[in-house]
């Protein structure tokens, strides 16, 4: 049995994960309840030795009405990844901040707060990060319509002169090339 398969059994015994599986070799993915995230991550970090935090991401499952937070960690000695996921309510998007575990989580959480509108309780500074003077809905949410926003805020630039029709232009060149 490989290390990851052993780890899977351990995690199934300790926590109550849903959908514990391997999306690819060297990667274990499992979904836990909100209260178990900190426990699962600190178990992986302190006991198993997943020291390198790779990234934190958020996925908007619009139809389910949930946000999914994805924590990916890496084990430097065993050379495997683990992915801890949890789902939070889309209406009441709140979660505890885990910035005390790895310093860089702070930055990711700030980005997710701005892009998805997830409030991280206990975060030292939830301030505008990448966007500037943004008053609309958080833009990475799936119900944010990019085209609608552009139509409302910007003017469309007029097209180029009639003389430039890429299709015709390419067609001619293509025909010439064919003849050769």
């Amino acid at each position: 049995m490989s290390y990851l398969e052993e780890l899977k059994v351990k995690i199934e015994n300790m926590f109550s994960p849903e959908k514990c599986y391997f999306p690819k070799e060297n990667l274990l993915s499992f979904l836990v309840s909100n209260s178990e995230v900190r426990g699962a991550l600190s178990y992986l970090k302190d006991v198993e030795g997943f020291k390198h935090f790779v990234m934190l991401s958020c996925v908007d499952w619009l139809e389910e009405g949930k946000f999914e937070l994805v924590y990916i960690v890496w084990h430097p000695e065993k050379k495997v990844n683990a992915m801890v996921k949890t789902k939070i309510d889309r209406e009441k998007a709140e979660f505890q901040s885990l910035h005390d575990m790895w310093r860089q989580i702070c930055t990711y959480e700030r980005e997710i707060w701005e892009m998805f509108g997830v409030n991280f309780i206990g975060h030292p500074r939830l301030e505008p990060f990448i966007l500037e003077d943004w008053k609309d809905m958080p833009p990475m949410r799936r119900d944010f319509d990019t085209l609608h926003y552009v139509n409302e805020h910007y003017e469309w630039r007029e097209g180029r002169e009639e003389s430039y029709k890429p299709r015709d232009y390419i067609g001619e060149a293509f025909d010439e090339w064919r003849k050769k």
């Binding site: 790779v54 991401s57 908007d60 990916i72 430097p76 990844n81 860089q104 990448i130 944010f144 990019t146």
Partner: protein
């Protein structure tokens, strides 16, 4: 007597040494940096959001524009992520050629870093020399893809085109010339007294801090951690080549300089082997014209010139495009090392430290 006072200073966004549009809010005590805050977002285009509206092939174009100096590496990471989800076997010839192009791209990226880093510190000559060699590599890219910077090189299942005639001749020419040019750069810099004064002991970060901050690439290897994804989790055919991880124990700017110089030499070794061992055969697996991936998720990372470049892709199994694409840009994470590195240094050293981190703002703001 004079009263001491903390002064706030804005550096950037339009500052030649910030390599793009990075703005730094410095808090200074005299000329010493007390605190520092990077302000990003000037180049935000919403790549991740746009990718949700595009199909898989269109989203490939967006990845060019992340780290525009190393577009080939970005393409490779994205295409490999798709292949991991789709479960396609890529022909050997395509894999060899992918490795060859990516390593050439790594050299090009490091050359640009060397050029600008040296220019920032004051060594003008290296800038001119390094661009000369970079031009040779860009010519090769132009020959194969038609683009010099935004290459959109690979396709799902292999390559778009077969290797053009005369390409190997150009690569051989480069392999022949480059080692002597490397010596030229090293003659100019490595034992240069001014260069050493400006880099040794500047921007020190310990291995422990580097791991905790999640730094990767040459910045981490400069702190003595032999972490290179090409070796520890080999993708493509990297395990078939004979090369070494470049590591230095200095933890400072000089160590990172040495790491990158070593890495260019190792990359050249890989290029040489890839060209020699290039197998015959198909350059693309049989794949459907309209790409549809099964429902699922995957995280895949590769070693880009700047560090660990990861893509987290989710497919809902219905559409022809990604449901969610998250990019873990190495520069985004490496930039977090700026604050601990700069504290207590002079303003002029901040310029050197930005150079040594080798950040690209296209990747940070996305």
């Amino acid at each position: 007597m004079f009263k001491r006072e903390i002064v706030e200073l804005n550096m950037g966004p339009q500052h030649p040494s910030t390599h793009g549009v990075l703005r730094l809010k410095l808090k200074l005590d005299g000329e010493t940096v007390v605190d520092l805050e990077p302000e990003i977002g000037y180049l935000h285009r919403g790549v991740e959001k746009l990718a949700e509206n595009f199909n898989y092939l269109q989203a490939l174009n967006l990845t060019d524009r992340l780290d525009y100096i190393a577009a080939v590496s970005n393409n490779l990471g994205y295409i490999e992520t798709l292949e991991k989800l789709g479960g396609v076997e890529v022909p050997k010839k395509a894999q060899y050629f992918r490795v060859l192009l990516t390593e050439l791209n790594r050299i090009a990226s490091h050359l640009l870093w060397l050029a600008t880093h040296a220019l920032d510190i004051g060594a003008m000559t290296v800038f001119l020399y390094a661009f000369r060699e970079r031009e040779m590599i860009l010519d090769m890219f132009e020959m194969y893809t038609g683009g010099r910077l935004l290459t959109t090189t690979f396709r799902y299942g292999g390559l778009k085109e077969d290797i053009p005639e005369g390409f190997d001749k150009k690569v051989k020419e480069f392999i022949k010339i480059f080692p002597s040019r490397m010596e030229d750069y090293e003659d100019l810099l490595t034992e240069n007294r001014i260069w050493k004064k400006r880099t040794v002991g500047v921007g020190v970060i310990s291995a422990e801090d580097a791991i905790n901050l999640g730094l990767s690439g040459p910045v981490l290897r400069g702190s003595g951690v032999p972490y290179d994804i090409r070796k520890v989790e080999p993708y493509e055919v990297y395990d078939e080549f004979d090369w070494e991880i470049a590591v230095e124990n200095g933890c400072d700017t000089y160590a990172r300089y040495k790491v990158r110089m070593k890495e260019m030499r190792q990359s050249l070794r890989i290029v040489e082997q890839a060209l020699e061992g290039m197998p015959e055969g198909e350059f693309r697996a049989k794949v459907p014209k309209t790409l549809k991936l099964p429902k699922g998720e995957v995280y895949h990372s590769i070693e880009a010139p700047k560090g660990e470049l990861g893509y987290y892709l989710i497919s809902d199994g219905k559409g022809t495009g990604p449901y969610r694409l998250k990019v873990r840009g190495p520069s985004f994470v490496n930039l977090q090392g700026l604050k601990p590195m700069c504290k207590g240094h002079m303003v002029a050293d901040v310029v050197a430290i930005i150079g040594t981190l080798d950040v690209v703002l296209g990747e940070i703001d996305r």
